[in-house]
């Protein structure tokens, strides 16, 4: 699986209040513990959902990460579309 460290961190965050708390309090330490690259750490801290998607976070994991941190889900979709150049088909 691509982005193995990122996916593993986010799965842990989805499941455990302690990890969610650490993401909110000390995301640098959390990222270091999971072996994230510098860029992965910064993009995760910035909640750059488009970048995370393009760089291999599983869509179900990305969605549930967003839900876990009470993210604006419309904003999530907007970021995914901007990152991929997706255009809705005309109805």
């Amino acid at each position: 699986m691509r982005a193995q460290a990122l996916n593993a961190l986010l799965v842990d965050l989805m499941r455990r209040e302690e990890t969610l708390g650490e993401y909110e309090r000390d995301p640098d330490a959390l990222a270091a513990r999971h072996g994230l690259s510098d860029e992965e750490r910064e993009r995760l801290k910035a909640k750059d959902m488009g970048w995370l998607y393009v760089h291999g976070v599983h869509p179900y994991i990305l969605t549930q990460f967003a839900l876990s941190i009470r993210y604006d889900m419309k904003q999530l979709t907007t970021q995914l579309r901007e990152a991929t150049g997706y255009r809705e088909a005309a109805s």
Binding site: M1, M14, P59, I61, L62, Q64, L67, R70, L80
Partner: protein, 273 residues
């Protein structure tokens, strides 16, 4: 032997619990009427055990170790594991059906299905959401069959259909007076965590529901490419197909279909003798 007395399928969209305001009153009426009708079916058939066929969304199963077909054989399971679903995390504990689970594993081995025994698996929205409405007292026994619909490569739709046969024969072989219902959950067309989230493929959904209602084995020809085109969440229709495969050609009826809320929503029931 145990008896297969009811078979049904429903969406498991978590928003029913986590964001109910997302749906219009008209759509809520359809959900409520559909769940009420399926509750009546369970009651009329005196069901004591439900075999729940769904995928699991990484809340308990890890992407590093995710079986194609898993049989949850634990005596109890607890959930939901999500902190965002609505019911507090771990507020629901259900009784499992370990004997039936072992029967399914044995029948799988007899029929060339290498099923994976799972112990206790934390319940996620694929299980919790429809059953929250169908068995709100959580007072039955539940056998959870987890089918990989989330981490490619996925089983073929034909394989999912044939799994239904395994389940049906296991119920027949189970030395128990139990009255068993099947519940497939998930789908229909939708996209999760993808740029096309919110898009519904009504043509795909309509064709699928026609095939399921007629219990037409042509459903086994549905390809990964077709499901990808309809949205990554569409792969969950395998859980409906497994129910169809279990009921030996029995026809079904669609209780409702609605595509207005950014996901193909439906419920159905098969006419099991």
């Amino acid at each position: 032997m145990a008896h297969l007395v009811a078979a049904m399928a429903s969406v498991h969209l978590p928003s029913l619990l986590s964001a109910p305001g997302r749906f219009t009153p008209a759509l809520w009426q359809k959900f409520n009427d559909g769940f009420a009708s399926l509750r009546d079916t369970l009651a009329a058939a005196a069901v004591d055990t439900v075999v729940v066929i769904s995928d699991e969304h990484f809340n308990a199963l890890h992407p590093d170790c995710y079986p194609t077909f898993g049989v949850v054989t634990a005596a109890t399971c607890t959930g939901p594991k999500e902190n965002w679903l609505g019911p507090p995390r771990d507020s629901i504990t259900v009784r499992g059906a370990p004997e039936l689970g072992e029967e399914v594993l044995r029948e799988g081995a007899r029929r060339g299905f290498d099923l994976t025994r799972l112990g206790s698996v934390g319940l996620d929205h694929g299980f919790v959401t429809p059953l929250y409405f169908l068995t709100p007292s959580w007072d039955l026994s539940y056998l959870w069959l987890i089918q990989n619909c989330v981490l490619p490569p996925l089983p073929s739709v034909r394989r999912s259909y044939d799994l239904g046969r395994v389940v049906a024969e296991a119920i027949r072989a189970w030395d128990s007076p139990s009255r068993v219902a099947l519940l497939g959950t998930g789908g229909l067309s939708h996209a999760v965590g993808m740029p096309d989230a919110g898009r519904v493929d009504r043509a795909f959904d309509g064709r699928l529901l026609d095939l399921l209602s007629a219990n037409n084995p042509a459903m086994c020809e549905i390809s990964d490419a077709e499901m990808d085109a309809a949205g990554n969440g569409t792969h969950e229709i395998r859980n409906w197909v497994t129910v169809a495969g279990a009921v030996a050609g029995a026809k079904g009826e669609v209780l409702f279909y609605d595509g207005e809320a950014g996901i193909g929503c439906a419920m159905m029931r098969f006419h099991v003798a």
